[in-house]
Amino acid sequence: MKTHILVVLMQDHPGVLNRAVSMFRRRGYNIASLAVGHTETTGVSRMTVVVESDHVEQVVKQLYRLVEVLKVSDVTNDPTVEREMALVKLHVPSQQRAEIVALAEVFGAKIVDVSVTAMVIEMTGGPAKVDNFIDMVRPFGIKEMMRTGRIAMVRGARGHSGADLVDTGWQNDVAGAASAAAQ
């Protein structure tokens, strides 16, 4: 199955994430990764979903059926910046500290906590780079690990701002068309 990255802008209402995720579950679409958060526009939240599907057009249409979904974009083939973050707690005896520090430096990872026998490293990057880093530190002994979902943003001036989606002049059109249809 093909992997697609969808950027979804939604009204920031209670339960909206539940509606979206529940739709994925009941229609059998497999979520590989999901991240949600606020955007530059008040009242609009943004979700990045990595979904495995050969019928991504259906996924997009079903998302649009949700009343609170404002915009869905498949950015799989667009030039994007993609980021994930991992926090990794490693078992590190003092004699190995230098080696880990050097490795972290190569990957641009940050050491955010050091104790006598352990270190917590923050690794941010594209999914492949994060994978790679984790493979490299695994032999040292990973005590704990936590990864976020992927977030994505299209490069350049074009983008997915919520601001232009929240206008107010349209609803009379819908009501007008509905009454025209009823005649």
Partner: protein, 573 residues
């Protein structure tokens, strides 16, 4: 000067302002403030007390489907709302505009497993177009306005509003003026001109065109436009189960119903067509059979107001998102080159002759009846008399349940007018008919509402018969096609499972006595020669009548396409 109102009063006023005049429901603890307030508004808001919330939900569906207006049902928190789940799911599958108003426990105890607390917004999320949990009196008026707007526009559907008891009890000076703000909800009504031109171009190149119309035509009130388009281009029209009545079946271009229990000629026409224009149908699997084998030679144009239906089950050549009526009007506005139209007419005329020959051969209504030698009463005999009597008297609407009797009704009764055939299609909800008929009868007191129901489905919701008496409704007549089996399952067991009748033989109460206990007129019919007198007596009786037709027990619905087979492969005996 504005006075303060309770949330419950505001709820009543908001409903009235948004066009509601009839509601079906049952009270209970959490919804009591609404019932308290309703009393003041009873001259504008008619409340019909049902005996089970499922009945209230189906009644609201019957009201909505027969009128095109919003159907409203009410339940209290907990079991009162879970009982509404089946009708909500039914309305979801058949795109019925419905508003479910639910009482909820007070916000102070919400989430604490309070008495009669159920997370009904969570439960109904996948089967509603949208739903709300309202915890503040300030939000009630707007939620009602938005809910009814969503339920009735675009592709209609059920919307649920769950309101906590304290929100119904709190008071404020109401404000009904807030404008609807739904930036993510912009249904497309006008079809794209470019796509409409492309569709017409494709059609004019074809030699074997068919049109298929579904529920979308009914809901857009587009029957006249279907007729105008079909007649202008002389295209045969196939009507799905929910399209029955949207195109008069005695019209020379009418082919009737396709699909699993559709007519052989309708399915053959689809399979042999080179162009199929589907307006407002969703290519349900009961219509298409095995999807990969459906209309193998046809270019397909699909008109639907919901873009997610296009390309979901069947790949299409030209998608048109829009309202059935407006798209048809746009199609009719097009003035294609005279030469192209003449060529098309020439080719299509030959096809029409062929299709009508097929129809003449296959649409004898009694053809698929394997009548035994004995003089038993066959279900078909009942439908023949019903057809005759209904046609003679006019003004009928028929509500059917789910199963064999439903397919026979679709096949054997006559459908001339939109919204006269009301049934549970997508969800296939047994128990739908009796309560749905209550809603139809309330909305259309001038019509005779026939319930055609099986003995199985009837026993699921027959408690609503007493509501008919309490409300002094006289225009409901019930015909039970009583064969002592859950008949459609039995048919499958006979045809595909070596006659292992597991869980299908059915004992029923004496329906005549049951009817009498409810204050109805009850009639039992045990032989074919009594059918006509019974139906005539039903018409002559000024009140609700139930007729128990004890028909031959093991009769099958034919023609039939076995599940997951091509609609080209029909069993006819």
């Amino acid at each position: 000067m504005s006075d303060k109102r309770t949330g419950a009063q505001i709820l009543c006023e908001a409903l009235i302002q948004n066009g509601v005049d009839t509601m079906f429901g049952l009270p209970g603890g959490a919804i009591m403030p609404f019932y308290h307030a309703m009393w003041e508004y009873r001259s504008e808001l008619r409340h019909i007390l049902c005996r089970h919330e499922q009945g209230a939900g189906h009644a609201a569906e019957g009201f909505a489907r027969s009128t095109g207006r919003i159907g409203v049902c009410i339940g209290t928190s907990g079991p009162g709302t879970t009982n509404l789940v089946t009708p909500i799911a039914d309305a979801w599958m058949d795109s019925t505009p419905m508003l479910a108003i639910c009482g909820q426990v007070s916000s102070a105890v919400l989430g604490k497993d309070a008495f009669q607390e159920t997370d009904i917004t969570g439960i109904t999320m996948p089967i509603t177009k949208h739903n709300y949990l309202i915890k503040r009196v300030e939000d009630i008026a707007y939620a009602v306005k938005e809910a009814i707007f969503i339920a009735t526009t675009g592709r209609p559907g059920p919307v649920l509003v769950d309101i906590t008891k304290d929100a119904l009890q709190a008071s404020m000076v109401p404000d009904y003026s807030k404008k609807i703000f739904l930036p993510g909800y912009r249904p497309t009504y006008q079809g794209s001109k470019k796509q409409i031109k492309a569709a017409l171009d494709l059609m004019l190149q074809s030699k074997k065109p068919v049109m298929m119309i579904g529920n979308g035509v009914m809901m857009a009130n587009a029957s006249d436009e279907v007729m105008a388009f079909a007649e202008r281009y002389q295209i045969p029209v196939i009507t799905t189960l929910h399209g029955l009545g949207a195109f008069p079946q005695d019209h020379p271009l009418s082919l009737g119903m396709p699909g699993m229990h559709g007519w052989v000629h309708a399915n053959r026409a689809i399979q042999e067509s080179d162009f199929l224009l589907n307006i407002g149908g969703r290519f349900d699997d009961r219509v298409t059979g095995k999807a990969s084998t459906f209309a193998p030679n046809a270019s397909i144009v699909h008109v639907d107001i919901d873009p997610s239906e296009i390309g979901k089950n069947i790949e299409v050549d030209v998608p048109i998102v829009g309202d059935a009526k407006l798209v048809l009007l746009s199609l009719l506005e097009e003035e294609p080159e005279e030469r192209k139209v003449t060529e098309f007419h020439h080719a299509a005329a030959e096809w029409l002759v062929y299709v009508r020959e097929l129809q003449a051969k296959h649409q004898h209504k009694q053809q698929y009846l394997n009548r035994p030698d004995t003089s038993v009463m066959m279900p078909h005999d009942v439908y023949a008399v019903l057809t005759k009597e209904m046609n003679e008297r006019g003004n009928y609407r028929v509500v059917t349940d789910v199963g064999q009797h439903q397919m026979w009704a679709a096949q054997l009764l006559d459908w001339y007018r939109p919204r006269t055939h009301i049934t549970s299609g997508g969800a296939g909800t047994m128990g739908f008919a009796m309560p749905a008929a209550l809603g139809v009868a309330v909305a259309h007191p001038e019509d005779t509402v026939w319930v055609v129901c099986g003995d199985g489905g009837f026993q699921m919701t027959n408690q609503e018969m007493i509501v008919v008496v309490q409300e002094n409704i006289k225009n409901i007549k019930i015909a039970i096609i009583n064969n002592g089996f859950l008949g459609m399952v039995r048919q499958w067991q006979e045809l595909f499972e070596g006659k292992r009748y597991s869980g299908t033989p059915l004992t029923s109460p004496n329906f005549q006595k049951l009817a009498e206990a409810y204050g109805w007129t009850g009639i039992t019919v045990e032989s074919g020669d009594q059918i006509e007198a019974a139906v005539q007596q039903a018409y002559a009786t000024d009140g609700p009548v139930l007729i128990d037709f004890r028909v031959e027990r093991e009769v099958n619905v034919f023609p039939m396409v076995p599940q997951n087979k091509s609609i080209g492969e029909m069993i006819t005996e």
